[in-house]
Amino acid sequence: MVLADYKYKDIIHRCFRCGYCKFPTDWMDVNNCPAYARFRMESYSCGGRLWLIRAWLDGKIDWTDHLAQIVFSCVACKNCAEKCPLNFSDNIVDMITAAKSEMVERGSIPSAVKNFLENIQRQGNPYGDARIKRGEWVEGTGIKQYEGQEFLYYVGCVGSYDTRAKETAKTLGEVLLKAGVSFGVLGNEENCDGNEVNKLGEESLFQMLAEENIQKFKDLGVRKIVTLSPHSYNAIKNDYPKFDGSFEVFHYTQLFQDLIKGGRLNVSGGLNARVTYHDPCFLGRWNKEYDAPREVLNAIPGIELAEMERNREATLCCGGGGGNFYTDFLGGSETNPARIRIREAYATGASAVAVACPNCMTMLEDAVKAEGLEEKLKIRDISEIVGEACLVKRD
């Protein structure tokens, strides 16, 4: 591609690499860009990437495997956008995604990204597992197929296929049943929401997924959607309206907040534990929802919420966004952001990290094992903590 065809050609040169994109909001650490934290090289920060992309668009450097790895190691956590002082800060993640798009069009992308996208084309999930296995997690629960209930419970790919996250998906369903929420799932009829596909720059595949999902939701008469994953929540809430799909979307922690306030979800069973909460990027920075998960945790008797040093807008991403929970460009080192995050969580003295995202769950579960802390620090989804407090039994 030449610079003239690049969507952000008029602004990309304005980044003068002040370096603010690497910091959290309070300046306490220079390593708040997950890829920069992992590699400690300027080229892996947002500013570094923008300069490399510009050099590539100007024909000064070639697209190589190494450059592809640098560009695709952006996990779209949006820390850079939070901190960038320039007036195009809202666009800086999109500027990187646009470069990914160009390489997707050329077909010249890292193998892991190619596998991720091809698996979604074929089977509707990044793992390449069969479509007919998507709804298997429902077996043995009382969770019903969606047929006009008040809410569609949209689970997403990770909750449908990942062994650990499937347990979370079940527990959330059982808590909703216990609270008497009228809801159903799509089971094998569910397809990928496309959030990661979009952030990996595969625009046309995302459009196809969004349009098909929207049509399915409309055909079934869906009006309200509750999601397990903040990634699904982000796509359905912010991107589906562009394709004429407007639904009332809730992340489950928002629904929990209402249910607890309304007395429908009784968490008086309590749980004695010091817990720290890890903000998922697609709930926090992408959707500004920092309070609902904390209010839910604070409503549970016996829970002591201990904040990590970097929290809310300043959260360090687990590294699982932008498809990286599968493509894994940031692993293989103790500077893997998920491992840094686990050390930070452990330093709070908490016995559990509360998460609100199946991607964070899988990333932090791996990291806690790599750190040898699995006996001391449990990774628990908020739905599981609430499940215990409202006495939903799970083995």
């Binding site: 997707v104 077909g107 084309q121 069969a130």
Partner: protein, 263 residues
């Protein structure tokens, strides 16, 4: 440089092995919810052809013998960079390799070609015969299991992969036929947009009659009798104990069975 690439469509059983079942005929697997895709080896052959065209100019034609549902795979080939695609509208499952080779030979001999490429084998039947048969029928040189390729001055310089990491290097006079091994390149990602764009490219469907052939004259010499699932093994052993114990136990088993050398 005009290149013809023969491709086929297969069922994707890679992530769904526990759902493969034999159908009522006993000669095929149940399609059920299995999804179709391009044969793995053929994707490498196509990529190699498209890269060669980008370097040297010319055309790439993708050809197949198969039913209408295989058009999806031909469209994918067009999206990868083939200029046109031709499908001979016949059920290849009812043919043996020799019959398919005769049909492809009749088609390819009507096309302009400097190089013909096949995948080294198919994922579903795996006979690996088709390429060599077509080369013999066309009377041109061929090389199988090609892992690298350079074309210059009317010659193809190729290396073939042998056992134990040994490479055999050959020069073939063009026109020639090559069967391509996986790993020769990194097949590009075929974006959804490029599949949509490729809808405008030519996808021609031809009958046996148009090739001067008839079903009656194409009698298979090899007949598939039956398909069976491999019986479950009885020598599987579950290793229990802590990670350390299990690892030590596994190492002993591997050493004793000669898989790894002790020392």
């Amino acid at each position: 440089m005009d290149i013809v690439v023969a491709i086929k469509q297969v069922l994707d059983t890679s992530e769904a092995v526990d759902v493969v079942e034999i159908d009522a005929s006993g000669k095929d697997i149940k399609k059920g919810a299995l999804i179709s895709r391009i044969n793995d080896w053929d994707e490498y052959a196509l990529e190699e052809a498209v890269q060669l065209k980008q370097k040297l100019g010319g055309t790439v034609t993708a050809v197949t013998v198969g039913p209408g549902e295989w058009d999806d795979t031909l469209r994918r080939a067009l999206a990868m960079g083939a200029d046109r695609a031709i499908r001979i509208d016949e059920d290849a499952a009812a043919m043996d390799s020799c019959v398919v080779a005769r049909v492809l030979t009749a088609l390819i001999s009507r096309l302009s070609y400097d190089l013909i490429m096949f995948g080294a084998q198919s994922e579903d039947l795996g006979s690996g015969q088709l390429g060599p048969m077509v080369a013999e029928m066309l009377g041109i040189p061929h090389a199988t299991l090609v892992v690298s390729l350079q074309v210059q001055e009317g010659e193809a310089r190729v290396s073939r992969e042998l056992e134990g990491g040994v490479l055999e290097l050959y020069t073939l006079k063009l026109p020639a036929l090559l069967t391509i091994q996986t790993g020769i390149n990194r097949p590009r990602y075929v974006s959804f947009a490029s599949i949509k764009k490729a809808r405008d490219k030519e996808l021609k469907v031809m009958s046996l009659g148009e090739l001067g052939l008839s079903r009656e004259a194409l009698t298979p010499m090899v007949k598939l009798e039956k398909l069976e699932l491999t019986p479950a093994g009885k020598r599987a052993e579950l290793i229990s104990g802590s990670a350390e114990e299990a690892a030590a136990n596994l190492a002993t088993i591997l050493k004793n069975s000669g898989v790894i050398l002790s020392g």
